[in-house]
Symmetry: C2
Subunit: 414 residues, 2 copies
């Protein structure tokens, strides 16, 4: 087993303002080639702190991936760290300069003098060229460890890693790690755990993590080493899917919008959406999927009662008698958008995302979800207890999940 | 200056599947009371690895905040770590048990036997009660450092930190850190840096970070220690705003949707939106803001040409002569949605998010943004070079930014 560590550098990572994402990309890539990340550290742009962390890396870690701090502003210190730690003074590198020059030319931009400074690099570094940015990467060896330094900008880091570093690392590792993620929605963590606890005890060779990720619970299965285990892992995944049933909505990179999209294509159905409390989030999620224009035709985001009447044909007496947040309105919205846009399926949401607008009978977090098809219609009701942003997230998840169950279980939508 | 370290525990954090967010919350909270986070570490659920990291914490760090690993499933090992590191065996804690019991009662849920196990805690721990979950927190002192252990579930961690830990820590620190963030959009990092480089050289007392956050560049200013510096910081922020001009759209927690919402309210205007390539993202962002129903009336997400004609009154000859992705269509969409919904302003997007659908004349990443008001209309055009998700993000940012500039600079919208 080869162990790696990831060190992300930048004051911004300790500012509370920026969310670091490079490490997740690197972890997934390393996992595919059997390299395990032992820990990850974020540290500020301080030469002393970075070198302290380098000195603490345990002997078992052989690969150190460092991102960030290679940029062109005053607070980027990684080059100074490298220069000191590997005793390699900065020198002008004409190849790197030429690369920066070409990059600007290809973008019809003028070279800023600041960019020129980026061609000064530690003399003995093995250079990792950056095809899409101005900060070159570097490779060094010391005390049995290999250090790779990459820029912090995600697409620059990703391309450099995939083109230059991954091929090298994959030759080092002869172990394989097989992993699969199962996504569930609709049950809390403790209930999921209770359902599969016996299974976990019966399979000590499988590492399984149960990860709440509101409003979902994900299961990550990991098997290490032998070739035969890819099939074994797939069998285990199937066993767990059988135990858990319909709360499992997908595997791996599946999201509900991906799963719903596949079901609509398989069944040759088209969809339109009428959103009130979700405010466009369902449409946004559906249209994140390439080629969603095959099945997603139109959405109407109707915040006002007037828009619900005018755009969706909701009856004003329905709104008067039952209120905008009601089963009746949800169903009329779904039927309306379906009829007006001429799609096979209509999906609707109406509810109260908060913070204001709740009542004793219909508290903040209430949502009604309507689904209309040619021969059937249904409405369901959920209650969330979070803030506005998380409530919208929950509502959209429940709406897409209800649509998934409707498409999967019913045969009478057409 | 008091230094802290944050250690987040969980195999999931090294799985590439879950993005860790607790540290950002803690950093911001600590910053407010003058405590600086020196580094943060994510480590897996391994007793050995966690204790190794505890042993490496540098002497200057006095506060150690640990989140995660207190849960109820088989892979949560933090209690075992604590028990070993502080030599404190587990024992049944009746107060914690009572708290878990009450929590389930209040939610009308049955106590799962697994939850009962969470009442076993290291004997000598100072308990930090968890009001919204079953995992209690703990406090220990060792070698001049104070360790706080909190659950990994964000809302449980946040409440415990705010109620129990923050008041304690704020009494320790007599320094103040003043910080302000400036948000810009429309210029790359190097150009922002070139514009303010002189200012940075003239203000060595101010720490300033320039943080690209596609498609924005943020500036974080930090001043430490003296009381007078809050005013000083505000003056410095104004100076930078003057140097940078209209590319600055906000401060602190401002987002473009917040800023646009404020401008609409100030000017007593209403908005409707016609989205094609952004697929609902603009509406989603606008409706993330509480009380956006005051100015946001309706959006029509029109993916198909048919929907553009039927829902927005775009002329079929416009689509035929210029194409759906054109200045003419963008303007007709904005005018159409404005007219049909009777709002003061109409905003539209039409473009190609990718990966398919591009041509030489209109490559993937092309977007046209239309704005219509009573006495004026305008259209602008941008090109992005990212993937579908980032292109949608960029399109929505440019659309909201154009709307901001329109509202700010023009007086003839009404």
């Amino acid at each position: 087993m080869i162990n790696a560590a990831i060190i992300t550098v930048g004051n911004e990572l300790l500012s509370g303002v920026v969310q670091e994402t490079n490490s997740q990309f690197l972890i997934l890539q390393l996992k595919n080639i059997g390299i395990v990340v032992d820990f990850l550290i974020s540290v500020g742009d301080s030469i002393e702190s970075i070198i302290y962390q380098f000195d603490q890396i345990p002997p078992k870690v052989k690969i150190v991936l460092v991102t960030g701090g290679l940029g062109l502003t005053h607070d980027d210190v990684t080059k100074a760290v490298v220069s000191q730690y590997f005793q390699s003074p900065l020198a002008f590198n004409s190849e790197v300069y030429e690369n920066i020059h070409q990059l600007f030319k290809s973008r019809h931009l003028e070279l800023n003098p600041i960019n020129k400074e980026q061609a000064y690099l530690p003399k003995t570094a093995e250079i990792l060229p950056n095809r899409v940015g101005t900060a070159a990467g570097m490779k060094f060896k010391k005390d049995g460890k290999t250090f790779y330094f990459m820029p912090g900008v995600p697409r620059e880091m990703q391309l450099m890693f995939l083109e230059k570093i991954l091929p090298e690392l994959s030759r080092l590792s002869d172990q394989k790690i097989f992993t699969e993620t199962l996504h569930t929605t609709g049950l809390p963590e403790a209930e999921i755990f209770a359902k599969i606890r016996q299974w976990i005890d019966d399979h000590p060779e499988t590492n399984i993590s149960i990860l709440p990720d509101f409003p979902n619970v994900n299961l990550v299965l990991t098997l290490i080493d032998e070739q035969v285990k890819r099939t074994e892992l797939q069998n285990q995944v199937k066993e767990l899917e059988n135990i858990l049933g319909d709360v499992v909505y997908g595997r791996g990179t599946d999201t509900l919008e991906v799963v719903v999209g596949k079901l609509l294509i398989e069944r040759d159905l088209t969809l339109s959406v009428a959103e009130s409390c979700t405010g466009g989030l369902i449409s946004h999620r559906l249209t994140n999927i390439p080629r969603s224009s095959q099945y997603f035709m139109h959405a109407s985001i109707c915040y006002s009662n007037q828009a619900k009447i005018q755009q969706l044909g909701v009856k004003s007496e329905t709104l008067r008698n039952y209120g905008a947040v009601s089963m009746q309105t949800a169903i009329e919205m779904a039927e309306g958008v379906r009829r007006i846009m001429g799609t096979k399926i209509g999906l609707s949401t109406t509810g109260i995302a908060g913070p204001a607008g709740g009542s004793a009978a219909k508290p903040v977090g209430t949502v009604y979800i309507g689904i209309a098809a040619d021969k059937s219609k249904e409405c369901c009701h959920f209650l969330s207890t979070r803030d506005r942003i998380l409530n919208k997230c929950y509502f959209s998840q429940m709406a897409l999940n209800q649509l998934r169950l409707f498409l999967k279980l019913r045969q009478d939508y057409d």
